[in-house]
């Protein structure tokens, strides 16, 4: 066993003390009929061989393309200090701080994370972390149902499709209902810049159905399509109907955009990955979940509070634990136990390293690059799909988008996401690519994309299929 300390003598000594002849005897409780012996797996691999194999697998991924892919996971520059501090193994080889006297490191970092995210979201209560943006959104919607004792939420189709599907899975289990709020189509919104955003008229109609009272309204800002939503207006409509307002947010954008606190959302959920986590093919990421103080007893997951020890010295501790599964069991606010604490730590480190001005710069530089990208793509034959304001991500229209996307890979360009891949049921997205820019996008990247795209668009075959 590569990491075991036991020598044959150690094992013999232990068996002797236990008073059995062989390790086998310790397994006597396993009924013979249920036993198996051994595992059909390859033999052990030395670390040298294993590392060579892992290098080969890692090299079989292609991460060298110029990428404009966001869609819920974003590439950002992460200061070197973050990963090196994360490698402090006192952080990553500890567990949930059940013994606060010897866990002040973890506890203080969680408290600081909660404080930082409270400041970013404008809400007072932030959970120690949830699994990811999708599950945080689902839990936010469940909170709304518990708090209002109503059983139906409305979810904008501007929310990330994975989040909507996850919410749907969670709601199906709990026998709750999640209905979708449509988006304004191009035509409907003619003359306005609202195309692609949540259809307020439809929302109003749905909220007005007295037989099916609404627990919460879930809207993302920026939306999945990168658009800025009329959050204040949506909040007012929701609250007027006695529903809670759940905002799905992207944390870097909160350095510059109005916050859930500003537009009076009751709950905010979102994906914390942009705060210093690698893309890592989808995880581990960070589910952000925040709420107004009044909802504190509904929030799932751990909370850390400041208190004092018996000598009166400041100290931190997990608190309000009566919401949690290990105490409340079937009545708990959620079943979450292990969370994403290390990712929350990464987020706190990232925010502290980059600072308030740095975070604004990240957001604004992404916006500036996105403007550049918009112009370049429009000139190359791929104009925006929606006219309204956006921060750093937007959809463009290009005939035969999926094929164009595939062909661009050959030119070393990962041209965002063909929307048809994630929303196959909606023909209005058949010719759309969702593209994004961040502070890591360079002018050369944009030029490479635009040039390759222009060439492809000019080819007669492409887009016909």
């Amino acid at each position: 066993m590569p990491y075991g300390p036991h020598t044959p003598e150690d094992r013999a000594r232990m068996l002797e003390v236990i008073g059995v002849d062989a390790v086998d005897d310790l397994f006597a409780d396993i009924p013979q009929s249920l036993r198996t012996s051994g595992l059909g797996l390859p033999p052990p691999e030395s670390e040298a061989e294993l590392s060579a194999h892992l290098l080969k697998l890692a090299a079989a991924n292609r991460v060298d393309l110029v990428s404009f892919l966001g869609a819920g996971a974003y590439s950002h520059f992460v200061p070197a200090v973050v990963d090196q501090l994360l490698l402090r193994s006192e952080f990553y080889t500890a567990y949930t701080p059940y013994q606060p006297e010897i866990s002040q490191g973890t506890l203080q970092t969680i408290y600081e994370y909660q404080s930082l995210l409270a400041e970013l979201t404008g809400l007072d209560v932030v959970s120690a972390s949830h699994y990811d943006g999708a599950t945080a959104t689902a839990e936010g919607a469940l909170m709304a149902c518990r708090a209002t004792r109503r059983e139906r939420v409305l979810v904008s189709r501007g929310v990330h499709p994975h989040y909507r599907q996850t919410l749907c899975t969670y709601f199906g289990g709990a026998s709750l209902v999640a209905d979708e709020i449509p988006l304004l189509a191009d035509g409907t919104a003619a003359g306005t810049t609202a195309a692609g955003t949540t259809d307020l008229a439809a929302l109003e109609r749905m909220l007005a159905d007295v037989d099916r009272p609404i627990a919460g309204v879930v809207v993302a800002n920026p939306s999945f399509f990168g658009l800025l939503e009329p959050m204040a207006e949506i909040g007012r409509l929701a609250h007027a109907a006695g529903a809670l307002f759940v905002a799905v947010v992207e944390p870097v954008s909160l350095a510059v955009l109005a916050t859930p606190g500003d537009y009076e959302a009751d709950i905010a959920a979102g994906e914390g990955q942009p705060l210093g986590m690698p893309l890592a093919y989808g995880g581990p990421y960070l589910g952000i979940l925040a709420c107004r103080e009044a909802l504190v007893r509904q929030i799932p997951g751990r909370l850390v509070g400041m208190t004092a020890d018996v000598d009166g010295r400041r100290a931190f501790v997990m608190t309000l634990r009566a919401r949690e599964q290990d105490i409340r069991r079937e009545k708990a606010s959620s079943n979450i136990c292990t969370n994403q604490a290390l990712c929350a730590l990464a987020a706190a480190m990232y925010l502290a390293a980059i600072g308030p001005h740095g975070l604004r710069d990240v957001a604004a530089l992404g916006a500036a690059r996105a403007t550049e990208l918009e112009l370049a793509l429009a000139a190359a034959g791929a104009p925006r799909l929606h006219p309204g304001p956006y921060l750093n991500e937007f959809a463009v229209r290009v005939p035969g988008a999926p094929e164009v996307h595939r062909r661009l890979l050959e030119h070393g360009v990962l041209a965002g996401l063909p929307l048809a891949r994630v929303i196959p049921d909606d023909p209005s997205f058949a010719d759309a690519l969702l593209v994004c820019a961040t502070e890591t996008t360079t002018s050369e990247d944009i030029a490479a994309f635009a040039t390759a795209l222009a060439a492809l668009v000019a080819e007669p075959q492409v887009g016909v299929r």
Partner: protein, 499 residues
């Protein structure tokens, strides 16, 4: 507000002064946000702390030193399998080819990771004796939810909507009943028998046409193998219910018992326990779920598929209508799964069997050595962990398990899990794991022996323990009565620094 402790430093917010920090990213051109309507913008910048990199580094280096961790000492936290986390696994997860891959990258760009995920699913299926595995769940509890939602979908697919109950032994981890609730089921709690196993008679009595599933932790949270498991499973299947195994304790039985072959329909794995991915101060982990034939159609989407030509791909959106759907965005906590994959390959089949043998050996050794010092309620071979109790000690001296635990801190050990499982009075759930040397186990025994002596000779020493930790016992009541969950005065330089 209280003053910071001697050894606690200031918070990030107290270290902040306007003008500190910066220099990480280039400045944007002026007017970069001009195209965004003012109503959509935040009025003031966020009042995040401003600290320089040197201060930031000291902040976290010194905070880290306030933590007890597996890398600094023995951490026998029962049920949590705090074993050593191999460093090659951390290295692997950080390889740029893995770390920089976007979760929506086209399959052609993701062949390395897809192969890894596919092979990991195969390995877990072999270990669990299951037909297939999904790697999506982010933790054990989410694995449970995924599994129970699949049983729900299974019964619904057969029109059996009247199955509204899930049976859970009273010794189960809190996530089991909480999961049943989240999946819309009623939890029926089953008492334990005197031998620590499920009370088979009570169990039979509770089973019936309303039973959707039973959740059995095996080995149980008492560290015992369910000796009458065969009977239990037969009874479950007889009433048409499904059997879920909470696999958090799999570290005891790899290569000796395969839940799927024994008759479990579904189970979850805790990669942060059995497969040694680190616990991260509370997470992240991953909770893959294995299923047998019956639940195959209901696995969450997307699955990782291998094509006849040997290439790998993800299921397309909506490709499998029977799926319970997504349980999260993208495909899973991939970075954690890379670590688990590396761990499994390093051990191979024989190594994993040795892991279980040594984990069980260590637990039984520790139990044998502690039997004369503490109560050990179940006097038969345990699996990878065992329950001890301070009930007698308490009766004799007034010293509770909490005091013993706190005093262990002074001796340089992380206390075991305490007051769990709930079914044993003054419980200590002790899990040494297979990566602790016999010297360490012996020194732990010595510490317990001394503490028991102290309980008689100097009980006050224990009531007021710990004495050698960065802070002493905390005022948890104050924390809950007047919750202070965030730093309020986020005003940068205006906040005085307590140093």
């Amino acid at each position: 507000m209280t003053a910071p402790g001697d050894r606690l430093g200031p918070t990030l917010f107290e270290r902040s002064r306007p003008g500190r920090g910066g220099g990480k990213v280039p400045h944007p051109p002026k007017g970069a946000l001009a195209r965004i309507p003012a109503s959509q913008l935040r009025a003031d910048g966020p009042r995040l702390p401003e600290v320089s990199e040197p201060e930031l580094t000291r902040h976290y280096v010194n905070l880290s030193r306030l933590n007890y961790s597996v890398d600094s000492g023995f951490y026998p936290l029962g049920s949590c399998t705090m074993k050593y986390n191999p460093k090659i696994d951390e290295w692997a997860a950080r390889l740029n080819g893995f770390a920089a891959l976007h979760p929506l990258a086209p399959d052609d760009l993701a062949q390395g990771t897809l192969q890894l995920l596919w092979e990991l699913e195969q390995a877990l299926a072999e270990i669990g004796g299951m037909q297939a595995v999904t790697l999506q769940p982010a933790a054990g509890a989410q694995g449970e939810l995924t599994g129970i939602l699949m049983t729900r979908a299974y019964h619904r697919s057969r029109g059996e909507v009247e199955r509204t109950e899930v049976l859970v032994p009273d010794s189960a981890h809190g996530t089991n009943p909480a999961t049943a609730s989240m999946a819309g089921f009623k939890t029926v709690s089953i008492p334990s028998a005197a031998d620590g196993g499920v009370d088979v008679e009570a169990f039979r009595a509770a089973l019936g046409p309303r039973t959707a599933a039973v959740m059995i932790t095996n080995p149980s949270t008492l560290g015992l193998f369910e000796a009458r498991l065969g009977e239990l499973l037969a009874a479950v299947h007889k009433v048409g219910a499904l059997a879920y195994m909470d696999g958090a304790n799999l570290n005891a039985i790899m290569g000796r018992f395969k839940p799927g072959e024994a008759g479990f329909d579904v189970m979850h794995f805790n990669v942060h326990k059995t497969f040694s991915t680190p616990h991260g101060g509370g997470g992240p982990g991953a909770g893959p779920v294995g299923v047998g034939e019956k639940l195959l159609p209901f696995l969450p989407s997307p699955r990782v598929l291998r094509e006849p030509d040997g290439r790998f791909k993800l299921e397309a959106e909506g490709e499998r209508a029977t799926s319970i759907g997504r349980v999260r965005a993208f495909v899973g906590n991939t970075g954690v799964l890379v670590r688990a994959y590396a761990y499994i390959r390093a051990h191979g089949g024989s190594g994993l069997c040795e892991v279980s043998d040594d984990a069980v050996l260590a637990a039984n050794y520790l139990k044998a050595r502690l039997r004369d010092v503490l109560d050990v309620p179940f006097d038969r071979p345990c699996m990878h962990e065992f329950v001890a109790s301070s009930a007698t000690l308490k009766a004799q001296t007034g010293i509770r398990t909490l005091d013993v635990a706190k005093r262990l801190i002074d001796y340089g050990f992380h206390p075991p899990t305490i007051y769990f499982p709930l079914t044993v009075e003054e419980a200590l759930l002790i899990e040494p794991t297979e990566t602790e040397s016999i010297e360490t186990l012996d020194s732990f025994v010595t510490a317990i022996e001394r503490i028991v002596e102290e309980a008689h000779s100097d009980p006050e020493l224990l009531h007021s323990a710990p004495h050698n930790s960065p802070v002493r016992r905390l005022d948890e009541t104050m924390a809950a009565r007047q919750p202070n969950l965030r730093w309020q005065a986020m005003t940068g330089g205006q906040t005085p620094c307590p140093e």
